[in-house]
């Protein structure tokens, strides 16, 4: 997948370019590479849990902890964030009709922090779990692994703040004067929303990482109870960043669906205004619900009710997106090419995951499901079912524009069926496992718990199907980016005209490549 501009250039020129499409390509490839690396870890975890007591693949609990920690960190910080930034880099400048990002060099700097942060996370292989809760991360987690994780996350946090600033300035200050902000395409709106959220949320986590580091060095005791600190304070700081971060992962995927659904329904978007409103609402409400991760830490009842209401307030805004999608598709001449299939599949799973989220936010149920596989199932259903589906859909959509060639629709169909099937089988089963009482993050479980054994084996088989679907995806992308049929650059998906690709219009003032 090497994007060509006007004429072919050496690969190193693309690597050290500051042009937005080049940086976007690097972001996308980095995100995809880390997706597959973290996917291998996920399959190791699931395979390990297939037979209880056998220690298949992973021979000791500490290594197991390290594997799920790095799996989580990689999927969130090195796949979800860079991939969204990559697609944003491709499309946002074109959507706001500007020649590049506002700060091209800053853009490249923000990208190059990702491989460095990634190297720190992967070389250290910390065992703190991705949340790295105090006091374990302060007084027990062995270094230098945990310190490398702290520095790696610090670098990735700075990278996401820098790219957010870049997006905000590009969209607000560099958009074409003829283009009113409310008519900026919804994908750019989603990137604007998450960028503003990042700028507000991320500094809290950056500060708590520094506090964690000084605590580990023993010079401070913010989260260390033996020095008078409070581990719960870490949870508050962490979730103040990471509940909004949930929406920071989610909204770009929703924005991508807004790109795909009208196009493949061959119909204008049902309502631009409600989409903008729902994005902004989710951006605000994201900050009002962090406490629902911490119901069981002994909050008082009033606080819990406030957070419960704050959480439920996200439902109408999410519903607005779903109804907007459905109303756009209604009566359209839908062409189910791969991007559309994944987008629609993503909507269906978004609804299921959202329903699970509503149950979670109900306090009485939360006390039952807290810390069980229910939570694992819920969060993965969101991340795989909605976010990964949206990203995969966008990857298929961008593929001809990046490579000039067409992927195989047949392989994409197999990928879709396996991915949908696998996602449902793994993550729905994990909800049930949680209700059966299986705690998350456990290394092994007793073989006499037959319901756990059965459900775990079902989930593991689902994980293999899901993993297999991604192998097909990778093969499809690699083979067809070199040997695929040449795409008709005016209408690669056969939608019936250039009208359906407004942002691919050739602009004489700059080289967009497509």
């Amino acid at each position: 997948m090497v994007l060509e501009l006007r004429k072919p250039r050496p690969v190193w020129q693309i690597m050290f370019s500051t042009h937005h499409t080049d940086v976007a390509l690097l972001y996308t490839i980095t995100g995809m590479a880390f997706l597959f690396m973290a996917g291998v870890l996920a399959l190791m975890i699931r395979t390990h849990l297939f037979f209880p007591g056998q220690a298949i693949l992973i021979s000791d609990p500490a290594t197991f902890n390290r594997i799920f920690t790095v799996h989580g960190l990689t999927m969130l910080f090195l796949f979800a964030l860079p991939f969204a930034a990559g697609i944003g880099n491709y499309l946002v400048p074109i959507m706001v009709r500007y020649k590049d990002m506002a700060y091209p060099k800053l853009n490249a700097v923000a990208f190059w922090m990702n491989p460095i942060g990634g190297a720190l996370l992967w070389l250290g292989f910390s065992d703190t779990s991705w949340v790295s809760y105090a006091p374990y991360s302060v007084i027990r987690a062995p270094g230098p692994a945990a310190d490398m994780m702290i520095f790696g996350l610090k670098i990735l946090g700075i990278s996401s703040i820098l790219s957010s600033i870049n997006f905000i300035v590009t969209i607000l200050k560099c958009k074409h004067p003829d283009l009113p902000l409310r008519q900026v395409p919804l994908f750019a709106w989603s990137i604007l929303t998450v960028s503003l959220m990042t700028v507000v949320a991320m500094p809290t986590y950056a500060a708590s990482l520094i506090m964690l580091l000084t605590d580990r060095l023993g010079v401070s005791g913010f989260f260390n109870p033996s020095l008078g600190g409070d581990p719960i304070a870490y949870l508050h700081l962490f979730w103040f960043t990471f509940h909004p971060e949930v929406y920071i992962f989610l909204l770009p995927a929703i924005g991508m669906m807004y790109e795909l659904i009208p196009r493949f329904s061959r119909k204008p978007l049902f309502s631009q205004g409600s989409g903008v409103f729902a994005f902004v609402m989710l951006g605000l409400i994201g900050f009002a619900s962090w406490g629902h991760h911490m119901y069981s830490t002994g909050m008082d009842f009033t606080t819990k009710v406030v957070f419960m209401i704050g959480t439920l307030a996200a439902v109408p805004a999410s519903g607005m997106h779903v109804f907007n999608f459905l109303a756009t598709m209604w009566g359209g001449r839908i062409r189910f090419a791969a991007p559309m299939k994944f987008a629609v599949g993503g909507i269906a799973l978004f609804f299921s995951a959202g329903a699970g989220g509503v149950l979670n936010s109900a306090m009485p149920l939360d006390f039952i499901t807290h810390g069980t596989y229910w939570v694992v199932g819920h969060m993965h259903l969101f991340l795989t079912g909605t976010i990964a589906f949206g990203f995969v859909a966008m990857m298929y959509y961008m593929f001809p524009f990046i490579t000039g060639r067409m992927y195989s629709e047949k392989l994409a169909n197999i990928h879709f069926i396996m991915m949908m099937w696998g996602t449902v089988q793994v993550f729905f089963t994990q909800h049930l496992l949680g209700l059966e009482g299986m705690a998350r993050r456990i290394y092994d479980y007793p073989p006499e718990f037959t319901s756990w054994v059965q459900l775990n084996q079902i989930a593991t088989v689902g994980a293999w199907i899901l993993g297999g679907s991604f192998v097909i995806f990778l093969a499809n992308l690699i083979y067809h980016s070199a040997k695929g049929k040449e795409a008709n650059m005016d209408d690669p998906f056969g939608l019936g005209g250039k009208y359906y690709y407004p942002y691919q219009a050739k602009n004489p003032t700059h080289h967009t490549g497509y």
Binding site: L123, V138, I139
Partner: protein
């Protein structure tokens, strides 16, 4: 295909370019994997400072190991269980072998060879608390309650009491001590006439001088003083009289960093006696640096002069320093 607005042909990716891109990505990952796997143990080798401070706050002086006198008591213990698991003990569930009592003096080195001969999981520790599974005295544990010894596993622990009194060797798995896995260690004050090892004495005025050089084999596997092991003059015995004022000239003739000191037991964490240190493990002597130290030899006994950089004594930088009465 109609490219009516297209003046030039659209350049498309070739297999060669894709291969180049993949080679770069996979190459970086292979290099990263090599770095990761060659350092696998290193990444989790440090204890956070916060934990060290916390453990430091929690331990009192009683829980530190004492200075060894050189006398060693070997004890071998087996974890055993009665068939109904209601009685647990060391060596035998009942009878005279059951939980043997150990008598020692302050400064004696008690070496425990422990084996899990039972069917359950156990962990060995020496403690001074009269009940409960700990806290264990530093360095005396084999396994912990979190990661105990599995059946048939064995291990070794040493305990050097620093104060007289009653100590207990126990199974550190909670509940096992209460079921009988507990034996007593009676520690008497150290033997009357002989002065405790390492104590300082008044100088007699007699002066002696020695010269030592740090040497290493070219493959950095053998370490010694003066000459490599096997050659004449390697790690020479130094004999002095108690109260002599000893001057030692040391020179670093090797390519690594070293530091000098006289200790009682080179295996346990060495505390350097009588201010005899030249540099320290934290700021050692660089290659070709030399240094002097002058001190007064203390109580009679057999001591060791070693390189105090961790690991070097075990590799051979360990010679006898004999103080005669």
């Amino acid at each position: 295909m109609s490219h009516t607005e297209q003046e030039e042909p659209i350049p498309r990716t070739s297999p060669r370019r894709l291969g180049k891109m993949l080679a770069i990505i996979i190459g970086i990952q292979v290099v990263g994997a090599a770095i990761f796997f060659t350092h696998y143990d290193y990444w989790n080798s440090y204890q956070p400072n916060a934990e060290k401070i916390q453990l430091g706050l929690g331990t009192n002086t009683q829980q530190k190991q004492g200075q060894a006198t050189g006398k060693t008591i070997n004890v071998s213990l087996k974890f055993v269980e009665s068939s109904d698991f209601k009685t647990l003990a060391f060596n035998a569930v009942s009878g005279s072998d059951h939980n043997p009592e150990i008598h020692a003096n302050v400064g004696d080195k008690i070496v425990f060879d422990v084996t899990n001969a039972g069917k359950s999981y156990h962990a060995f520790a020496v403690t001074d608390s009269k009940e409960g599974p700990g806290p264990a005295i530093e360095g005396t544990t084999v396994g912990t309650a979190d990661s105990p010894m599995k059946p048939k596993e064995s291990g070794q622990a040493t305990f050097v009491p620093s104060k007289p009194g009653e100590y207990y060797y126990i199974c550190a798995v909670p509940g096992h001590r209460e079921l009988g896995m507990e034996g007593k260690i009676e520690v008497a004050p150290s033997g009357g006439a002989a002065q405790p090892s390492g104590t300082e004495v008044k100088p007699t005025g007699n002066k002696v001088e020695f010269t030592l050089g740090f040497v290493m084999s070219s493959d950095s596997k053998q370490y010694a003083f003066n000459a490599l092991p096997g050659q004449t003059g390697s790690n020479p015995d130094i004999k002095v009289k108690s109260g002599d004022t000893v001057t030692i000239h040391v020179k670093n003739n090797s390519k690594s960093y070293h530091a000098f000191g006289i200790v009682v037991d080179p295996d346990s964490q060495p505390a350097v006696l009588w201010n005899s240190a030249v540099k320290s493990a934290d700021s050692p002597m660089k290659p070709n640096e030399s240094g002097d130290v002058t001190f007064v030899a203390g109580a009679p006994g057999t001591y060791h002069y070693i390189c105090t950089v961790p690991g070097h004594a075990a590799l051979g930088m360990d010679g006898k320093f004999i103080v005669e009465p």
